[in-house]
Symmetry: C2
Subunit: 385 residues, 2 copies
């Protein structure tokens, strides 16, 4: 049992994966809400939308035509946040002037992809079966593999298992440059800035190691050094599997849980039980288990408030290019950050205090996990049919 | 001139105040937007709303009746995020077990206040004149003073200048406990989670030093040690005042600028030109200058898209209780984080990539500053009348 006093007192919890704190105010959920309500997303989408730039056979913003793909479809983002080629910029002005200390910049290049999750305009991850999610995991794995530094120990593992391309999928061309990190993520729902309801994710690959994976890597390396080679997230998974207070779903390879240090009301982490560095470390069974965990989390999310539950989701794993220590310290996990708090229309805002001072949450992660544990089973939409 | 190449290439900029990076994608503003549109806030509010729990003379949620206040009004939040009194919790379990390493928590107590900015239900900071904003700054200063550790060097400065209470304002009772930090902030607009349109701010005071001020303090102390006692933000203000590339407004005591490392599209920082540790360091003229800077920033925000511009705003200053080094390294500044990007209805979402990897912005801070510089003068609402 969690020390039950934490259900009642205001307290902070420490996130050892980021090295940061979150303020928890369990007594605050009684607050009435007079603020903004989200539009609830009850509208049913068609299976095919002729105006959607992601549906098979349709034309995209910049003129390309999508193939009649059958599983996933990957293309380079028409409005990438980073460019592949650009003028050189060497900022490393080290003359000791105020500018060199306070106006620091560095060039970033990279490549951004979009991945549709299904040819159907209206099938979200929650609607797909684990078997239908496996091809998405395969596509992520192939993309990751294509961008790995060929000298990385992970490249050898990857080359041992070739995954056949899906229909209408070219094998992914090696990039022009050796990128440092690949961030795979999904924004689901208008509340999370998603601009097209056709279920899709994104992949941004950059020459830089971004802030969040970099923070996590520092903590993972530190733990490993301090604990004689132990892995923080492996230890954490072991601990949570024993306690069963924050676990939402579990199978042979993965735990889905509301982390002790969760910021968002129904934040979930999917973490591999064993030490796996990246997607390429998973065999077929593990990919099926991951697909099942994703299906379980997204389905429970939708069931919780009987709505299309918005979230941002992302994968953290080993850098494409990194030191041996960085690669060995990495531990595959996925974060789900959903904004809804009390119903399909009342969200948690991380605003003034959260931006200026510290993230703050109302319900405890234990309470959130209990609710998510209790809403598994068939998707509410299917029951209604 | 900024190195003009940065208007065109994807790059990262370093924030020396937090020790973190932001990804800048200036070429990306051409992206079409098919996502969520914000409700534009054209509705005109009455000067008095009988159902508002902040208007003078009205009853609040838990039964108290507001006095007929004339300037500002402060009361303890009816739904505080931290409690003043609670059961003791001593978490410092140091037995070396997995739990002690990975499930860390600590108790936090504190006090949360609400401050109305004006008795009028419909007068935001942008509608008030600098002279009308001065009383708000006085109230912040009095609250801060009342919670200072009496042994802090700042307490002596504060006691030298007593500010008379406003009508219907009790002098603030000293708290039960010595708190560590006071976070003063405002959430403006439904898009920023504000649940009551009556212009008001909040003050959360805690036994803990929250994440953000703590990160900043570390950087400020480090800079001071490395640069022979120089102050990071004083140096930064000097540099920006010379360059004039990111300055939006300037008076004798303050600069309002879009920081080199801004994350939000029209993020602004108000920073004192001289080294001032906290509100209590300001004399009457400096308080007037601060009021003018606040009026200039909020007015320009509303003028930019001719709307009630949403934002979260907060003050960073010296801890209430801290080491001499912490207090001396602190430098008063205010952050404004507004979500709007392209119009009154299109916001910038900091979601998937931003949450999982790194904050990302589209327009450059220099472009944002130019636009804000050019929309000063009378408030659009007044011109329309
Ligand atoms: O206290 P309020 O204004 O009701 O609530 C608002 O500000 C708080 C502090 O930033 C947030 O924790 C809440 O999510 C937000 O809705
Ligand atoms: O690329 P999209 O889906 O159009 O855009 C969305 O995701 C991006 C990555 O998280 C964000 O930078 C954008 O603000 C958001 O609207």
């Amino acid at each position: 049992m969690p020390e039950s006093i934490l259900d009642d007192i205001s307290h902070r919890r420490f996130n050892p994966l980021r090295g940061s704190w979150v303020l928890v105010s369990p007594h605050r959920t009684k607050r009435p809400w007079q603020g903004q309500q989200e539009a609830s997303s009850k509208t049913t989408l068609p299976e095919y939308d002729p105006s959607c730039y992601l549906c098979p056979g349709n034309q995209r913003a910049q003129g390309d035509v999508n193939p009649k793909y059958e599983k996933t479809f990957v293309f380079v983002n028409d409005y990438s946040a980073v460019k592949e080629e650009q003028e050189e910029y060497n900022s490393e002005n080290k003359d000791g002037s105020l500018s060199s200390r306070l106006l620091r910049a560095e060039s970033v290049t990279g490549k951004c992809y979009v991945i549709t999750f299904s040819p159907s305009h209206n099938l979200t991850l929650a609607d797909l079966t684990p078997t239908e999610i496996v091809p998405i995991i395969q596509t992520w794995t192939k993309l990751y593999t294509a961008h790995l530094n060929p000298k990385s120990p992970l490249a050898q593992v990857a080359s041992a298992t070739t995954i056949a391309p899906h229909s209408h999928e070219e094998s992914f061309a090696a990039p022009n440059a050796q990128y440092r990190y690949m961030q795979i993520f999904e924004n689901k729902g208008a509340a999370m800035g998603c601009s097209n309801p056709h279920p899709h994710g994104q992949v941004w690959t950059t020459t830089s190691l971004p802030e969040e994976p970099s923070l996590e890597l520092e903590q993972l390396k530190k733990y490993r050094r301090e604990q004689g080679g132990a892995n923080l997230l492996e230890d954490y998974a072991t601990l949570e599997a024993t306690k069963q207070e924050r676990v939402v779903f579990e199978n042979g390879s993965f735990l889905a849980l509301c982390p002790w240090w969760a910021v968002w009301p129904f934040e979930v982490m999917i973490v591999s039980k064993q030490h796996k560095r990246a997607l390429v470390d998973f065999d077929d069974k593990e990919k099926e288990d991951l697909a099942e965990a994703i299906a379980e989390v997204t389905g429970r999310y939708d069931n919780l408030f009987e709505t299309q539950f918005p979230y941002s989701m992302g994968l953290h794993q080993a850098p494409l290019d990194g030191t041996k220590e960085e690669i060995e310290a990495s531990h595959f996990h996925m974060h789900f950050y959903p904004p809804l708090l009390r119903s399909a229309t009342v969200r948690k805002f991380l605003v003034g205090y959260e931006m200026m001072a510290e993230p703050q949450r109302d319900i405890t992660p234990e309470q959130a996990a209990t609710r998510l544990r209790n809403c598994g089973g068939e998707l509410y939409r299917r029951k209604l049919q």
